[in-house]
């Protein structure tokens, strides 16, 4: 891949004695929509959390837009990133969490405008205008003054998506965005994500168990197993004609 926006180069991640990512190599192209599937505990969330700078790494290099994420250039080679460097890099990424993680004491509008005002320096009016556009996009234009607990899970997650988009990230990370939802609410969230995938040149990285959806919207699907990409490819290939036994087993288990 030439000029990937995200690059994992032999990345090692450990939690104590547990090695979660063992020299992971992984790339995502600009504007590419990539789905990550795989069994629970295989390190899918960890990949997203490393990108969002919520987890550090023990080895290797992660690059975003050609610049190391967890390192910065020192006088004698790469040194661990400072908080200032992380802040700069983080601005390019946004994340949608499994549990939404909305701020419960803030209105929907305030959830979306807080960071654009405080971090990007937008005026309140600008931020409000941007938030209203985004609420329109996720179909919640009339819910701006509500508090999260007054919304359904599906609505809360759509606010979560709007909140992440308000920071204008280049890359949007979704960590099982519909796993915490009642089945009847999954559709409305997937519709929003699907529309984003179709209409925006945003790079999207989606961890999901919604196989049909992953197949529809992805340019590429990666099957994670034990901290490694066991198999990857175009969705038609991977879902219809998986090469690896492990992939076949996994797909059989989740599709049944």
């Amino acid at each position: 891949m030439n000029d990937p926006i995200i690059k994992f180069d032999k990345v090692i991640k450990r939690f104590g004695d547990l090695t979660v990512l063992d020299e992971l190599d992984f790339e995502v192209g600009r504007g590419e929509k990539v789905s990550i599937i795989g069994p629970s505990g295989s390190g899918k969330s960890t990949v997203l959390r490393i990108l969002m700078t919520l987890e550090g790494i023990e080895g290797g290099v992660v690059t975003v837009n050609g610049e190391p994420l967890w390192h910065e250039q020192g006088p004698d080679g790469l040194k661990p990133a400072s908080e200032a460097h992380l802040r700069k890099m983080r601005a390019q990424l946004g994340m949608v969490f499994q549990q939404f993680n909305l701020f419960p004491h803030m209105t929907v509008l305030r959830n979306i405008t807080e960071a654009p005002v405080k971090v990007l320096g937008l005026s309140k009016a600008e931020a409000r205008e941007r938030a209203e556009e985004l609420l329109e996009l996720v179909g919640l234009a009339d819910q701006a003054q509500k508090y999260p607990h007054q919304l359904s899970g599906g609505q809360q997650q759509r606010v979560g998506i709007a909140r992440a988009l308000a920071m204008r990230p280049n890359v949007l990370l979704f960590d099982e965005p519909t796993s915490a939802l009642d089945p009847e609410l999954v559709g409305e969230v997937l519709t929003v994500i699907g529309r984003l995938a179709e209409e925006h040149d945003l790079t999207m990285l989606l961890v999901t168990h919604e196989m049909r959806f992953a197949r529809e919207i992805s340019d590429r699907v990666c099957f994670f197993d034990q901290g490694q990409i066991r198999e990857e490819g175009a969705p038609e290939e991977l879902f219809t004609d998986p090469k690896e036994d492990r992939t076949r087993e996994f797909l059989k288990a989740v599709l049944d």
Binding site: F97, F103, P104, A164
Partner: protein, 230 residues
């Protein structure tokens, strides 16, 4: 006669009525000591909590040591220390000031724990959301953590408000004329302790009930999910 009021010992009822104004003056001192002591405890406790949470051991350890020391020594020891030792170093404070300060210091060790627990109870995912949005650490603390911590802190702080109120009589040993001390003086002079002391009990009951009701009201009024921000 005390504070310009005469007592009337002709019957328990007239006695009670005649000393009520005297006890109310003492009660007013008790209320002031409670409020000021509580304010000191809230402010100093927050300082301890921040120091104890500091990432540097040179700061967090002495703070932990201090609060542990305060907690493990009787209020009376601290009170005597402030009242008798400080003047030796040229710091002479009025008895009331010394007393409320001692109360506030004693309870700051407890309130610092309430703050810590309240702050730590704010879920990790809130910190992660704030970080993902690139909010600064200070902004995250003041606008994400604190508003959510407050409703968890209020009930426990309310208990300490009532405890402080009940500890105010300790200040009588350094001559503060709070309600119990006043009642004792009245008893000393009239040789009737039953009526003034019973009245102190009754008035204390009223004060603690009112304080508890106030805390419950505040608690009910604060949304559980945090101080709302529009």
């Amino acid at each position: 006669m005390l504070f310009g009021f005469e007592w009337d010992l002709s019957s328990p009822a007239t006695y009670a009525a005649s000393i009520l104004p005297i006890l109310l003056i003492g009660m007013w001192v008790t209320i002031q000591a409670t409020v000021i002591g509580f304010a000191v405890a809230l402010a100093l406790g927050l300082i301890w909590a921040v120091l104890k949470a500091a990432p540097f051991r040179v700061i967090s350890w002495p703070a932990s040591l201090m609060t542990e020391f305060i907690r493990d020594t009787p209020l009376l020891v601290q009170l005597f220390f402030l009242y008798y030792v400080l003047p030796e170093y040229g710091i002479v404070l009025p008895a009331f000031m010394t007393g409320t300060l001692a109360l506030g210091i004693q309870y700051s060790a407890y309130t610092s724990e309430v703050y810590r627990a309240g702050i730590e109870a704010v879920a990790k995912d809130q910190h992660e959301a704030a970080r993902a949005l690139n909010l600064s650490a200070s902004r995250t603390f003041t606008h994400i953590v604190v508003p959510q911590a407050v409703p968890r802190i209020v009930p426990a702080m309310g208990n300490y408000l009532v405890s402080i109120m009940k500890d105010v009589p300790v200040l009588s040993v350094v001559t503060v004329l709070e309600m119990l001390n006043v009642a004792k003086i009245v008893g000393d002079r009239t040789f009737n302790y039953l009526v003034p002391l019973s009245m102190v009990g009754g008035l204390y009951l009223v004060m603690t009930l009112v304080a508890s009701a106030g805390v419950r009201l505040l608690d009910g009024w604060l949304p559980k999910q945090g101080i709302p921000l529009k």
